[in-house]
């Protein structure tokens, strides 16, 4: 079909061939470039925030600048990094190949989604530069957000537009999984990464319109003075919080489910073992995609909603939290009687288990009504969601990028540097955020520009904040190191074999080192499950299965 030596990277060249590509693999790379840029930006804001808090009093910026910095950190990281990252980069690159398709169902729509995302992102950032700064926090709570400057409207419009990219990408993946599977790729042979992206897509399609509607209501209230959220106009400010969390809690699953999919694939591949509880993990992801819509009120235990509502929301939260706990047991059990290789991607998978388990257990803590009253809106919450969002979603992404890097670029990276960076990230992350659990349980409120006024009662806040800031620098160092050896690998990395990990899913077994333009020479015929290492004689040269255990 294609000339030997030709692949999706060299099939055509020039900037135009990238910006107008409809190849899902190239679009995945377009997302990677955009998201990495935004991640750097969001990371700079995070470091500014942590530097300001390194010592009591005003350190490097005044309260207005600080409030804008944490707002931009939140908005950029949530809407421009974590939500689009895994579906956009790895969903696009990997999912079609994993199901044996030559592209997604609607390739042009896929490119269009990327442009919508970029327009939304640029709008968000240009509003910040041109119109003025937003200091509402990423949650935009009314009435603070509705009587501030107009740049709030600009930013919410940007979020609204970026939301369409999310909806269209979700739609594309749902149709792709239903319609484009290769012969033999039955539902119970789908890799768990595909299941996860599929479940995520359902949430993207169902939940994202709600934040769109919310932003439109905010807009109407500002422009036409209709009393919806603003009590001065007869509105209800708590209604905004209901709307906001009705989207943003399911959005937590948009952020974490794809990472769980990556972890499942990593645990299976690097343990050469069936992923324990395959059916359970697959179906519970889809179940959570629906049930996740019923628990938004757990963000509002002290917001003024009725005690009865709080009790019901707390109970539902626990019910849907249990399956997540069971998944952690499944991932650990996958290693049992396996053949465990601690390559860099696997280090990130184990790091995910460590951090995400802490994030989950502290989630139980803040889901308990009486305890949440004390912990709500303190640094305990900040620590909790960073353990889930960064320790979970982003560490999953980084693990996945290391895993699929040889397939995306055709190159290997330096394994030693990879492990050193992983250790730095692990130490830096825990130093940054574990200290925040302690501060929060002692009562340090979040979004405080300064804690000098608390020191008389809480002298320990100085040392804890300094430690947290030091941790954030170590974390940044680790992340920059990853960027460094990734670029080094692009320039002079060793050529990667087609299947460097001994994985048995289609992207490793049926494509070249760098996949060709249409992924496969001919449509693959799938004859085994995604983790059937014992059946993969083609990968292991027909040698008999070795029983590595007693």
């Amino acid at each position: 079909m294609s000339a030997p030596g030709q692949n999706y990277l060299n099939a055509s060249t020039g900037l135009r061939s990238w910006l107008l590509t409809t190849d899902h693999k190239r679009i995945g790379i377009l997302y990677a470039v955009a998201v990495t840029t935004f991640f750097l930006l969001g990371g700079i804001f995070a470091l500014l925030v942590r530097t300001e808090l390194a010592a009591p009093g005003e350190t490097i910026m005044g309260p207005d600048t600080y409030n804008q910095a944490f707002t931009l950190h939140g908005v950029v990281m949530v809407f421009l990094v974590i939500i689009p990252a895994i579906p956009g980069i790895l969903g696009n690159f990997v999912l079609p190949i994993q199901i044996g398709a030559k592209d997604v169902a609607f390739p042009r729509l896929n490119l269009f989604s990327w442009y919508i995302f970029i327009i939304g992102a640029l709008l968000a950032l240009s509003g910040w530069l041109v119109i003025g700064q937003v200091d509402t926090g990423w949650t935009f709570y009314t009435p603070y957000s509705s009587d501030g400057s107009t740049s709030v409207l600009w930013l919410t419009t940007a979020v609204f537009i970026a939301g369409f990219a999310s909806i269209l990408t979700g739609l594309n993946f749902i149709v792709t999984v239903h319609k484009m599977r290769a012969p033999g790729m039955t539902w119970n042979r789908l890799p768990l990464f595909v299941w996860a992206i599929y479940a995520t897509a359902i949430v993207q399609v169902l939940a994202t319109p709600v934040i769109g509607i919310t932003m439109v209501l905010l807009f109407l209230e500002r422009l036409m003075q209709i009393g919806i959220f603003d009590p001065a106009l007869g509105g209800d400010p708590v209604l905004f919080q209901h709307f906001f969390w009705f989207y943003s809690h399911p959005a937590v699953y948009i952020m974490i489910l794809p990472a769980m999919g990556i972890i499942s694939d990593l645990m299976g591949t690097f343990s050469r073992q069936q992923v324990s509880g395959y059916t359970f993990i697959a179906l519970s992801s889809v179940a959570i995609a629906f049930l996740g819509f019923l628990v938004w009120g757990h963000h509002m235990f002290v917001a003024g909603q009725s005690a009865i509502s709080s009790i019901i929301f707390s109970m539902l939260t626990f019910l849907i939290g249990i399956p997540t706990g069971i998944k952690v047991f499944n991932w650990v059990a996958t290693m049992y009687k396996g053949s465990v290789s601690l390559k860099t991607p696997m280090l990130y998978a184990l790091m995910f288990l460590f951090l995400f388990t802490i994030g989950g257990l502290t989630g139980i803590m803040v889901g308990v009504l009486a305890v949440d009253v004390h912990l709500h809106d303190t640094y305990f919450i900040v620590a909790h969601f960073h353990y889930v969002m960064m320790g979970g979603a982003l560490i999953g992404l980084i693990g996945g990028l290391h895993y699929w890097w040889p397939k995306i670029t055709g190159r290997l990276y330096n394994e030693t540097l990879g492990r050193i960076a992983a250790v730095l990230v692990f130490i830096g992350f825990n130093l940054t955020f574990f200290t925040q659990f302690i501060m929060g349980s002692r009562g340090m409120p979040r979004r405080y520009h300064d804690y000098a006024g608390l020191l008389e009662q809480y002298p320990e806040f100085t040392a804890l904040n300094l430690a947290s800031t030091a941790g954030s620098y170590i974390l940044a160092l680790g992340l920059f190191m990853i960027l460094f050896y990734a670029l080094l690998s692009l320039i002079r990395g060793r050529k990667a074999p087609a299947n460097p990990w001994g994985a048995v899913t289609l992207e490793w077994t049926h494509t070249d080192s760098i996949p060709e333009l249409h992924n496969f020479e001919k449509v693959p015929l799938v004859t085994r499950g995604p983790y059937d290492f014992h059946l993969a004689d083609d990968v292991f040269g027909g040698r008999d299965a070795v029983q590595g255990t007693t």
């Binding site: 603070y144 009590p231 400010p237 050469r272 073992q273 049992y336 053949s339 257990l361 009662q457 040698r543």
Partner: protein
């Protein structure tokens, strides 16, 4: 009094704080045990089943029904326990005893004002020890949140409606009180204190703070300056952070953001108190709430008299 041993929660000082703490530590210890268990299994498996040759192909493991049932039932049971426990303590934290003393709380950017049944007002929350107190809270502008860590009490204070909280202080001390719902520029300085004293001292304080109506206006104004929260934004020493300082204000030439100017006479001061958004002094933002229009005329006179003395 200031000795602190615990790493986690601050020393408790309300009747229900002990119940909250017991639950917190139960979850903390249980979580720690679970976490150590999972991590031990993870590290052990990673070492015990490490890859010995690149050709290793272990046989698939049969799923063990008993183990699976255990890891479904144990978390479910633990979660059921903490939910019911948390729910019971939460009800206790939500239902104030009928004999509770009601204190009105008014929050605004960026100060707290407390009003007692006798009509006394203060910017620090004064409480008698061992007496249940119910707070009836409202906000003049955006959402704030009333948080006293030592009491384990937190409740958002929302504009346009009342929200409630209650507690009973168990020991005499001074505790920090913070705003925990982000409310703008000075969110992190929206701090106050809870001063818990004996019933007798509390009564004495109440008496003291109810100023006789026949006191000179400037003296009543000085009290209002504290009680109405003016001090949160307007200093007396010439420094102006949120609002202009009162020092030398009266009689000075004021320049406004629209370029006009005016002499700060009695009428200007009156207008600046009741209609603060009308003219904004250059260098400041329109932050002052309009709630002072509801002060009675004698109080406004007293405040003006006080400002003129600065």
């Amino acid at each position: 009094m200031k000795e602190r041993k615990a790493i986690w929660l601050p020393d408790a000082a309300s009747t229900y704080a002990g119940d909250v703490d017991a639950l917190f530590y139960f979850i903390l210890v249980t979580s720690f045990v679970l976490f150590v268990g999972v991590m031990t299994a993870m590290v052990f498996f990673a070492w015990r089943f490490r890859r010995r040759s690149s050709d290793d192909r272990p046989a698939p493991v049969k799923e063990n029904k008993i183990v699976e049932a255990a890891w479904i039932l144990v978390p479910a049971a633990l979660v059921a326990i903490v939910f019911v426990w948390g729910f019971r303590v939460f009800i206790q934290m939500n239902v104030a005893p009928p004999n509770a003393m009601e204190i009105t709380v008014r929050a605004q950017k960026w100060s707290w004002l407390f009003e007692y049944p006798s009509g006394a007002r203060s910017t620090e929350l004064q409480l008698p020890v061992s007496r249940p107190v119910r707070l009836k809270m409202s906000s003049a502008d955006v959402i704030h949140s009333f948080f006293v860590p030592a009491f384990r009490t937190k409740q958002d204070v929302v504009p346009g409606r009342y929200t409630y909280a209650w507690f009973e202080a168990t020991r005499q001390d001074t505790f920090p009180l913070m705003c925990t719902e982000y409310c703008g520029q000075q969110h992190s300085t929206m701090l106050s204190s809870v001063i818990v004293q004996s019933q007798d001292d509390f009564e004495a304080w109440l008496q003291e703070s109810l100023m006789a109506a026949d006191a000179p206006p400037a003296e009543r104004g000085a009290l209002l300056y504290v009680q109405q929260g003016c001090q949160g934004c307007h200093s007396l020493d010439g420094t102006g952070v949120i609002g202009p300082s009162f020092q030398g204000l009266a009689g000075s030439e004021r320049v406004f953001t629209d370029g006009t100017s005016a002499l700060a006479d009695d009428n200007y001061l009156r207008e600046a108190i009741t209609l603060p958004a009308l003219k904004i002094v250059e260098g400041y933002d329109a932050l002052m709430p309009g709630v002072y229009a509801s002060l009675d005329p004698a109080e406004i006179d007293a405040l003006i008299a006080f400002i003129k003395e600065q």
